[in-house]
């Protein structure tokens, strides 16, 4: 189906050309209702059951803006260090494609609600992590389109289809489109910069709790613009726009691919066509789509059915004051507080355990213990069950209680794992599980000494070895006592009692 393009070796391409990037990210908001009507935004409903005269573009229907959509746009703008427009309007973006029954998409054109911002990202390079500031051109409000199923033809694609079927449940769901200024100076790290930017943006938007930002589900979508020029002193070359880049890894790969593809064409004296290209996740290729219509072809004009949005400065400042801490700064702060290495911090972040570990420490647990449980036992269980850590039926408070009991010598790690199992099984709070399962450590010396004596009797040579200074032999006795008490003994205590019994000092 797709023609394989000639590619130049990436390093060779970078010797000849300077890449210029631009990234457009669409964030689908998790509001209850659509941007301009009160239809549900729930994913996965039966086709055309979350529609009304407004989102179907029926004559006479009057759209009204969703306040939560505007609020989310302002919060995203503020988090990206943007200025917030004092007055702005929606525009109609006219085009002929049946994914919008109105024949236009309601968007913002020359009056975006947020503009002139930046996002600082950390780019991994061969020389370590490089800070890089990505300048934000604008963030504006618009609406999502419906979904088309292309029928007939071999591949379900629009090319070769006999007809198409349209479901407008998604039409009108609020989107925020975030557009960077041209990203220059990334050089050979352009792919990494692109990926780091999308990752940082996703994390930032997630912290605002305005979107699921799931790339795999389309609630965060990325289009990659890329052009090459001979040197950083030259004017920008003609760019292509690669759409459908739906994973962080693909963002990086798509940039790399376009650099390599365009380099061959330019080196051979060819011209880049300004066009939309489609990224294919399975093959890692892009194929040509439509030749991009010029902005004037969309015949933008102010949407006469909606009135201007003029967010009061009080509202903007109120939203600014309620922004959560920037996630990157928060990570740096927590890492310093916990005194752990970059590697250990990355493990916490990668396990998506940051909030849980922080909350567990706040509930009184030691940082090392909090990390140990969430990244070890609980990650393993979550993984087995195909759940996220957050979905496990155990809380930071439970773990803090378990840790407190370990510190008091009432539990050991083995018993703690059984307590966790019980909490996850819904047997109640930590203390109830301990009582219910009879898990408390044997703390009376009497039964422990009896078990020690029994073990020494069964293995008479052990006492001699220990007396002769071979302290490692104690392991055999401790093991036997642990077995006799079904694990409900504190191993360190058993060891201490054993040495006391034998009159040996450690």
């Amino acid at each position: 189906m797709s023609k394989t393009a000639l590619l130049m070796d990436f390093d060779q391409a970078l010797e000849r050309f300077d890449p210029v990037l631009g990234l457009e990210v669409h964030v689908e908001l998790s509001t209850n209702t659509k941007m301009f009507c009160s239809c549900s935004t729930t994913f996965g409903g039966e086709p055309n059951t979350q529609v009304c005269p407004v989102c179907l573009g029926l004559p006479g229907a009057l759209p009204v803006v969703n306040e939560k959509g505007v609020e989310a746009a302002i919060r995203i703008g503020l988090a990206l260090n943007c200025e917030i427009a004092e007055w702005c309007r929606f525009s109609r973006k006219n085009y002929f494609y049946p994914d919008m029954p109105k024949n236009f998409q309601t968007s913002q054109y020359d009056e975006p609600i947020a503009f002139n911002g930046y996002l600082d990202v950390a780019v991994p390079t061969d020389e370590g992590v490089m800070p890089f500031r990505v300048l934000i051109e604008r963030a504006h409000m618009e609406e999502d389109t419906g979904k088309a199923l292309h029928q007939g033809g071999a591949t379900g694609r629009i090319h070769g289809a006999d007809y198409s079927l349209l479901d407008y449940n998604r039409a009108g769901i609020p989107l925020i489109e975030i557009v960077t200024k041209p990203i220059v100076g990334a050089g050979r790290y352009a792919p990494e910069v692109a990926k780091a930017y999308v990752a940082a943006l996703r994390e930032l938007v997630k912290s605002l709790d305005v979107s699921d930002v799931r790339m795999d589900q389309g609630s965060l979508r990325c289009d990659v613009n890329l052009s090459l020029r001979p040197t950083p002193q030259d004017r920008f070359g003609t760019r292509t726009e690669t759409k459908n880049v739906n994973s962080l890894r693909s963002v990086e790969r798509a940039v790399r691919y376009e650099v390599q593809r365009q380099a061959v064409i330019l080196t051979d004296g060819g011209k880049i066509i300004q066009e939309t290209r489609h990224w294919h996740e399975d093959t890692g290729l892009t194929t040509a789509g439509r030749v991009k219509e010029e902005a004037e072809d969309y015949r933008y004009f102010p949407e006469p059915d909606l009135v201007p949005i003029a967010p009061s400065r009080e509202w903007v400042e109120q939203l600014r004051a309620s922004l959560p801490e920037n996630p990157a700064l928060r990570r740096a702060r927590l890492q310093a507080e916990w005194g752990i290495t970059d590697h250990d911090m990355a493990s916490v972040v990668n396990a998506e355990a940051l909030d849980l570990v922080e909350a567990t420490i706040a509930a009184g647990a030691d940082q090392a213990a909090a990390r140990k449980w969430w990244l070890g036992e609980l990650s393993r269980i979550a993984n087995e069950r195909g759940l996220g850590l957050e979905e496990l039926a155990i809380t930071p408070a439970h773990l803090a209680r378990i840790e407190a009991l370990i510190a008091d010598g009432a539990l050991n790690d083995k018993l703690a794992r059984s307590v966790i199992e019980g909490v996850l099984a819904g047997e109640g709070e930590v203390d109830a599980v301990i009582a219910g399962r009879g898990l408390a450590l044997v703390s009376d010396d009497g039964p422990l000494l009896a078990a020690i004596d029994a073990a020494l009797q069964a293995q008479p040579d052990v006492a001699e070895k220990i007396a002769a200074g071979k302290l490692a032999a104690a392991g055999a006795v401790v093991g036997a006592v642990m077995k006799a008490t079904r694990g409900q003994a504190d191993a360190a205590k058993v060891r201490r009692l054993l040495f006391e019994r034998l009159g040996v000092s450690e």
């Binding site: 209850n32 039966e46 009204v64 049946p98 289809a161 007809y163 079927l165 201007p308």
Partner: protein, 98 residues
């Protein structure tokens, strides 16, 4: 006010997915010119002190709460559709074979 050209009419026709044969291009260019000239007279009346407007009423910030309201049923939504299939609107082939 420079007039609309034949090429511009052809471009507009392409964007609007209208088939206009050569002889009609001049005809429409002429008609569109009349319309554009008429509208242009408004600009003569409006001075620099009159801002462009997009809405007849001086309203701002008309917004609604993010609360769901029932919309149309699937049958209602599709009731005026010329063709439907699998609960969806059926539309003719979108791309011409090129």
């Amino acid at each position: 006010m420079s007039g609309i050209t034949r090429a511009e009419v052809a471009h507009l026709a392409k964007l609007a997915r209208l088939t206009i044969d050569d002889e009609h291009l001049d005809h429409y260019a002429e008609q569109l010119n009349v319309i554009i000239e008429s509208v242009a007279r408004v600009s003569e009346v409006a001075g620099d002190d009159v801002p462009a407007t997009s809405h007849p009423l001086p309203l701002i910030n008309v917004m609604r709460a993010d609360v769901q309201r029932p919309g149309l049923t699937n049958a209602e939504a599709l009731s005026n559709a010329p063709a439907q299939e699998q609960g969806r609107f059926r539309v003719p082939r979108i791309l011409d074979e090129e």
